[in-house]
């Protein structure tokens, strides 16, 4: 890995962070949240965002405290080589799961909504191939490209959200805590895992930024993360305002929102642009996760050629995404129940643990 081919600017890193956090979540997240928390979904997502900020603060703290190395590298210094190997097994498993889940979600979307007769493996393999090609082109290319795609994706999503203004009924946000605190906590659990808690894995990409001072890195990345949180909040708010508690029934809520848009004879049938936003979001997130997975392997095995694992890993992910989910219901359960749990229990736990150890070590050294 040469420094020249793999450093990106801070703005690009912030773009990657936003793309990573928003990703496909902007289309997917309102539905399970509304199913869990009803019209309080936006409260759940706000709480989850705050939790995400906490995790991210730890991630950044660890990044600065260990002189800008990645998760695996500081894990090695903190808990030793063999333990690092052990903890990286669930991390690798999580990454495999995440990539395959994103990949199959896009297949599900197309086979269930737009192109019912096309077999899902077509979407799975093409989508993964695209991600693998991009990951292979390197983080620099991805960073440049994703900033552009992020703008397109957000413009399209915002366009739909703005055009849907006539169908919003703000009254549907009330009453708050209709069914007590439990549904909100359930929603929090989902959103804290997907997408906010996933930020713990992003620490693998932080070392690629050109080294600038600590404050500016923190400031810009917090902005980027908050921006992602805001976008997801807007998306959740607008679907709740449009459909009320029914938002939990409609899969791909933003898509449903677009279907409902009908302004004069001019703006109708705009759902295709949500399809585009969804493809872009999933593609970016899958690519970034594939890169992270690749770097985990590279860092663990200390291999010089940093692109060698991308194609094999992508192939494994294609197979996994074809076989992992038996049905859409199975997908729902695994992604919105098991996944948030593993993110919180493995990813976030590790980050908190490492932060704690680093903190203790710092204190003891000072004394």
């Amino acid at each position: 890995m040469t420094a020249k081919t793999s450093t990106i600017t801070l703005t690009q890193l912030a773009g990657l962070l936003s793309a990573y956090s928003i990703g496909s979540a902007i289309v997917f997240i309102p539905n399970p949240l509304s199913a869990a928390a009803g019209n309080d979904a936006w409260l759940s997502i706000t709480a989850a965002y705050l939790f995400g900020m906490l995790v991210f603060a730890c991630v950044l703290y660890l990044y600065h405290a260990h002189n800008g190395v990645n998760l695996i590298a500081y894990s090695r210094t903190l808990i030793g080589k063999s333990l690092t190997v052990i903890i990286s097994i669930p991390i690798i498993g999580m990454l495999f799961f995440a990539i395959s889940a994103i990949n199959s979600s896009i297949g599900d979307f197309f086979t269930s909504v737009m192109m019912e007769q096309t077999p899902p493996y077509v979407f799975h393999s093409i989508g993964m191939l695209l991600s693998a090609l991009t990951a292979r082109a390197g983080i620099r290319v991805a960073a440049r490209m994703f900033l552009l795609l992020l703008v397109i994706m957000l413009l399209f999503s915002l366009l739909v959200i703005v055009l849907a203004i006539p169908i919003y009924k703000p009254g549907q946000l009330l009453p708050m805590f209709d069914h007590g605190l439990k549904p909100v906590l359930h929603g929090f659990f989902i959103a804290a895992g997907f997408p906010f808690g996933e930020i713990c894995l992003f620490s693998m990409l932080l070392p690629f930024v050109k080294t600038i001072n600590k404050q500016s890195i923190n400031k810009k990345l917090y902005y980027a993360f908050s921006f992602a949180g805001l976008m997801l909040l807007i998306s959740t708010l607008s679907t709740t305002m449009a459909f009320g508690p029914a938002a939990g029934v409609f899969n791909y809520s933003l898509y449903r929102l677009a279907v409902e848009i009908h302004i004069a004879e001019l703006f109708q049938r705009v759902e295709a642009i949500i399809g585009i936003a969804l493809i872009l979001g999933s593609y970016m997130k899958a690519t970034l996760l594939l890169m992270i997975l690749n770097y985990v392997f590279i860092e663990l095995l200390r291999i010089k050629d940093d692109k060698i694992f991308i194609y094999p890993l992508a192939l494994v992910c294609i197979f996994l995404s074809l076989t992992m989910f038996k049905s859409p219901a199975d997908f729902q359960e695994q992604v919105y129940l098991i996944w948030p749990f593993s993110v919180l229990a493995v990813g976030c736990f590790l980050v908190f643990l490492f932060t704690f150890i680093t903190w203790i070590k710092k204190i003891t050294i000072k004394e």
Binding site: M114, L130, L149, I279
Partner: protein, 499 residues
């Protein structure tokens, strides 16, 4: 004497030896003339002038002029000049002999003859004088054919490099404008010139350019576009990484932007490199018209870009895979017009696109008088007949025609060709996977563009890596006052501030 030896052989004292050697080299070159002269008080000394009649316009007083110069040096009359005086004069004071060039080797003599000079060789003198006398047929400076403009200067480049450089120099009157020449090829010996503004050009780019162009030296270069293959980073891409112009004001603007311009003798095309994708969105005239209008035109061009690339494939995707996305009334109209057509939309589009491409190609090569006949037969008769015969639907004809018009609206021919080529994979993808396929090829194209570099600069610069500040001169054009206040090229800005 072999040719290899002649490369380093000096001219002989004896005129006859010289004449024999030169005549031998120019055997069967019947346009090379040898003219004998005598001079001196009783015409006792011999001299010989040699010139290529097809390159040089011969004037008779050259010998006298040369002798007069020598005589003036020796304060005598020109008739009394002797080979001895000639020799001393040349060896002691040859700078006074301007505008003559002093030649010492045979190889120089051949070269100067072939460059349209008239050579005079004197007996008892191992040197020759060369007089410039170029007078080949030259096209006049006229309005550029390929880049006409309503506003702005009217002069276009010609086949003479010196004239072209002169026109650029007239605009860029600064020693910072550097022009370097190199001679390439063994037979044709084309002259390549490249220019740049020293304080504005990116030194890394210039260095890359120098290394790449140095490798062209052994090859015969007929036209500026030959150089492209040596300059560009990736040859197997449809996207052009350099651009061409016939306008000297465009070349000047490019220089100010920190680009390098390349000229080749006997070609009117000026190559501008490195070219980035966004460079292909603008023309020189964008800066000569009102900024609101220029912005409108820029957005039209962006639309043209998208239409030229994707319209047929979008039509295929919508009509084959996603009819639900078309508003109902329009959908009914399309279904109605497609009734009875035996082909799927893809084949229909392919047939129409290919016939359109054929028509376009036929139109370019034909003499102008026949050209209009082709368009009448091709577009009107066949188009009408195709619809009547139910081979294509009127909708498809509109789509193809619109695509064609859009590709004409792209100001740079090379970019329009790239889009023409790319349109077909887009159509295939749309016919196989509808909108998803379209997205996939779009992302692949974007990935390719992001990986592409032109002389080390990212091809998508200003977009990826994104520079918000530069966007004011890409899809829109902000008023010139603001643009000139802080120019796009920051080096220009910083250097002018220093001053």
């Amino acid at each position: 004497m072999t040719e290899a030896n002649s490369l380093i052989t000096k001219l002989d004292q004896n005129l006859l030896v010289n004449r024999k050697q030169i005549e031998q080299v120019f055997t069967n070159c019947e346009d090379v003339n040898f003219q004998d002269w005598q001079y001196g008080t009783s015409f006792q000394y011999d001299a010989l002038s040699i010139y290529c009649a097809s390159l040089a316009s011969y004037t008779t007083h050259l010998l006298q002029q040369a002798l007069e110069q020598v005589a003036a040096y020796a304060l005598e009359t020109w008739e009394s000049v002797t080979p001895g005086k000639l020799s001393t004069c040349i060896s002691t004071n040859n700078t006074a002999l301007q505008p003559f060039v002093l030649l010492e080797h045979y190889e120089q003599v051949y070269e100067y003859i072939m460059n349209g000079y008239i050579i005079i060789v004197f007996d008892q003198l191992d040197k020759a004088l060369a007089f410039e006398s170029g007078s080949t047929a030259q096209r006049q400076v006229t309005e550029p054919v390929n880049e006409p403009a309503v506003h702005g200067p009217r002069e276009g480049t010609v086949e003479n490099m010196a004239t072209n450089l002169g026109m650029i120099r007239q605009r860029v009157r600064t020693p910072e404008f550097k022009v370097e020449f190199l001679q390439v090829g063994k037979v044709i010996k084309s002259k390549i010139g490249f220019g740049y503004l020293e304080h504005v050009v990116n030194q890394e780019v210039l260095q890359t350019f120098r290394t790449r162009i140095a490798s062209i030296v052994d090859y015969e270069v007929l036209e500026t576009s030959y150089v492209e293959d040596w300059i560009e980073e990736s040859t197997l891409t449809p996207f052009p990484q350099v651009r061409y112009t016939e306008r000297t004001d465009t070349a000047t603007a490019a220089l100010l932007d920190g680009k390098i311009i390349v000229l080749v003798e006997n070609s009117p095309m000026i190559m501008i490199c490195p070219a980035l994708l966004v460079d292909f969105m603008g023309t020189a005239e964008d800066y000569y018209i009102r900024s609101v209008f220029a912005t409108f035109i820029r957005s039209l061009r962006l639309l043209a870009f998208i239409i030229a690339l994707t319209l047929p494939s979008i039509y295929i995707a919508l009509s084959t895979f996603h009819p639900e996305l078309i508003p109902t009334v329009l959908l009914l109209a399309i279904v109605d017009s497609r009734e009875g057509i035996p082909f799927p939309a893809f084949i229909e589009a392919l047939v129409m696109e290919i016939s359109f491409e054929l028509l376009r190609e036929a139109g370019i090569r034909l003499p102008r008088t026949v050209g209009s006949a082709v368009s009448i037969v091709g577009a009107l008769v066949i188009g009408q007949a195709a619809i009547m015969a139910k081979i294509a639907s009127p909708f498809m004809v509109i789509v193809v025609a619109l695509t064609g018009i859009a590709s004409f609206a792209i100001p740079h021919y090379d970019m329009a060709i790239a889009l023409r080529v790319l349109r077909f994979p887009y159509m295939i993808a749309a016919s196989l996977l509808g909108g998803y396929g379209l997205m996939v090829v779009f992302l692949l194209t974007l990935l390719h563009l992001t990986c592409l570099h032109s002389l080390g600069q990212p091809y998508l610069s200003s977009l990826a890596p994104l520079k918000i500040r530069d966007l004011r001169d890409i899809f829109i054009r902000v008023p010139l006052k603001q643009m000139l206040k802080s120019p796009r090229n920051r080096r220009l800005h910083s250097s002018s501030r220093k001053e």
